[in-house]
């Protein structure tokens, strides 16, 4: 009886010890993950994917996510103006000043600025863009970001320090597959016509060349006598 009790006690001790070790390992792994997780300073477009009908109006939030203190943010985006139409840009809550909201030839420029000693940190909307799906197609709203360039998108801290590390663009599918194919063909109609014209020209050139070759061969076949025929042969 005593022996059984001792064995039970031993097993219980081992169980407690094992569970303790497992707990410690789990907690430490979690902490290490948190410690090594990279703090991204990011510009995100939300939603990042959406399927739409032609003529739909929809909104895209331009979000900023950072743990640093920002003095301002610049976002430069490109889109296909034949598929999407910008209906308007509304200020977000990240910055009090949004002096730049410009749409020009498939490019959107938005700048938010902090006033005085205020700085932005966390995750919030810089601006909300209102779009209209004007034509069918598969299109992307891309954020221009090419480090270390300072002229496209930036997340700016004090002393003109750009800390932007990551951007997430958006993808929109507009219309049914048939509509998208039709729109694609419509867009590439000019290219197809140009290709056909070039093809016809090449064909015409090949045809002319072959005709010329044939003519040359025919000319060579004619026997031109070397002896003059208008005089009697010399003795």
């Amino acid at each position: 009886m005593i022996l059984i009790k001792k064995i039970k006690k031993h097993i219980l001790k081992k169980l407690i010890l094992t569970s303790l070790i497992v707990t410690v390992l789990l907690v430490s792994s979690l902490f290490s993950k948190a410690a090594f997780a990279k703090d991204e300073n990011e510009i995100i477009l939300d939603p990042s994917y959406k399927e739409l009908h032609m003529g739909d109006e929809f909104k895209v939030d331009v979000l900023i996510s950072t743990k640093s203190k920002l003095i301002g943010a610049d976002v430069k985006m490109t889109f296909d103006p034949t598929i999407l139409q910008v209906k308007g840009i509304d200020n977000g809550k990240a910055f009090k000043l949004v002096p730049l909201k410009m749409v020009k030839e498939g490019t959107i420029l938005i700048t938010g600025l902090a006033e005085g000693t205020n700085r932005f940190s966390g995750k919030a909307t810089l601006a909300t863009i209102r779009f209209k799906a004007k034509d069918a197609g598969d299109t992307k709203l891309k954020i221009a970001f090419s480090p270390p360039s300072t002229t496209n998108s930036n997340l700016t801290m004090d002393k003109a320090n750009d800390i932007l590390t990551k951007v997430t663009s958006a993808h929109f599918v507009i219309g049914t597959p048939v509509q998208r194919t039709g729109a694609g063909l419509k867009k590439s109609a000019l290219q197809i016509i140009l290709f056909l014209i070039i093809l016809a020209l090449i064909g015409a050139l090949i045809f002319l060349y072959l005709r010329w070759r044939k003519y040359q061969e025919e000319v060579q076949d004619i026997n031109i006598p070397t002896i003059p025929l208008d005089r009697p042969p010399s003795p």
Binding site: I71, G72, A73, D74, L97, P99, L100, M102, L109, T111, G112, L113, T150, T151, N152, N154, T156, M157, D158, K159, A160, N161, D162
Partner: protein, 410 residues
């Protein structure tokens, strides 16, 4: 043989033509060199306005009616003054009141010697905003006003001050663009300050502004550039060169540093030949031009973000050694900085330390005015707000502006 002869004739003609061209070129180059032979030294004045201001007068009738208390006491007609730039010029009619706007600029031309002869004078502004519907001519008038500006400096209804320069403004004149225009040489005051009143030709002609149609513009960055000649100071005789009675401008200065003055002083002994400048511009990413002045001379220097050492050829200036000089750095986006140095040797090193970016209206202070100019620039995407010269007006420039906010120039 005849073919050869023909060919040879053609060749002969070619040789003759080439020889003629060569000789002509030699003659032209020789004559040009003769024209450029140093007979005098250069002297330029180029500076931003030392004081600026604007006055707005509110009128109940147009043309101004003296019965309404105008122009005897402009304050009774509703006068208010604005300090700093942008400067508003023109007219406006709103809310049953007529408004006239005049701007006043003053330049410190005390560095121009009293015995100098002005050879050219150019006044320049940058168009900050354009709200004119009908076109008008911007008029620079020779008018002495007292800084700080007050309503008593208005200048009268009939604008007695003479027009010394003008520039046409239309509704299509692009904001952000700089426009220089010639000024009468007599308007430049030597050894003292040169002051101008800037008015609209419509106001001068007392054309009534239409209701709800803005007829005014805003200007900033006033800059005066003048060239002059002064009698040459007594110098040691030069065996190879004849002495010249005066020094003359040789054109606008460039970053090469070769045309500060004429080459007549190049071989003068005991003069400053070369300045080795150490200067940096924190946050500058591209290139920027600054104006540097020593004594009465000025020139443009291009500063680059990755360079701190610049060499300036001063051999043309004839600056005597063992004398203390002040070198002044000024520009469209930097605070004015003055550095004194002792020209102890022919090649002197000067550490100008750092230039401060952010003074967008050239009033020698980085303040709220600059912030407003920046916000306008970023919303319109003009280059005025591109403080770091990276080619974009964005939050990085704002960051620089806030970092330097409150700083003042020398």
């Amino acid at each position: 043989m005849p073919t050869f002869l023909n060919f040879s004739r053609k060749n002969l003609l070619g040789v003759l033509l080439t020889t003629f061209l060569f000789v002509s070129l030699v003659v032209i180059s020789l004559s040009v060199n003769k024209v450029r032979e140093p007979v005098s030294r250069a002297a330029n004045y180029s500076n931003n306005a030392s004081s600026v201001g604007g006055l707005e007068v509110r009128l109940t009738s147009y043309p101004p009616d003296s019965a309404a208390g105008y122009p005897v006491t402009p304050s009774s007609a509703g006068c208010s003054s604005q300090s700093g730039s942008p400067l508003t010029i023109g007219q406006h009619y709103a809310g049953s009141y007529y408004y006239d706007y005049r701007a006043y600029v003053k330049f410190d031309t005390s560095s121009i010697p009293s015995n100098a002869t002005i050879t050219s004078a150019v006044l320049q502004f940058t168009l900050y905003s354009n709200d004119t519907n009908p076109s008008f001519t911007l008029q620079a008038r020779d008018f002495n006003w007292n800084a700080p500006l007050s309503c008593s400096d208005w200048g009268g209804t009939t604008l007695g001050a003479g027009v010394v320069g003008s520039y046409p403004i239309t509704s299509s004149s692009a904001t952000g663009s700089s426009f220089p225009f010639n000024i009468s040489l007599g308007a430049i005051k030597k050894s003292t300050f040169t002051s101008f009143m800037i008015t609209s030709s419509r106001e001068a002609s007392q054309i009534r502004p239409a209701s709800g149609v803005p007829e005014f513009i805003s200007l900033q960055s006033p800059k005066l550039t003048a060239a002059y000649s002064v009698p040459t100071p007594p110098q040691p005789p030069q065996p190879s060169q004849p002495s010249s009675p005066t020094q003359k401008n040789t054109g606008s200065s460039s970053s090469s540093g070769s045309n500060w003055g004429s080459s007549s002083n190049k071989n003068l002994p005991n003069t400053l030949k070369k300045l080795n400048l150490k200067v940096s511009v924190p946050f500058l990413l591209g290139e920027m031009k600054v104006n540097i002045g020593i004594d009465q001379y000025s020139k443009e220097l291009t500063l680059k973000h990755d360079e701190t050492d610049y060499s300036v050829d001063t051999s043309d200036l004839g600056l005597p050694l063992n004398k203390i000089y002040t070198i002044t750095f000024s520009g469209d986006k930097i605070l004015k900085r003055k550095v004194q140095f002792n020209a102890s040797s022919a090649e002197t090193n000067v550490n100008a330390m750092e230039l401060t970016l952010g003074d967008l209206n050239s009033d020698s202070a980085i303040n709220n005015q600059d912030q407003l100019i920046f916000l306008d620039s970023i919303s319109k995407q003009t280059s005025i707000g591109d403080i770091n010269s990276d080619g974009a007006t964005n939050s990085l420039d704002w960051s620089i502006l806030l970092y330097n906010l409150g700083k003042v120039g020398d």
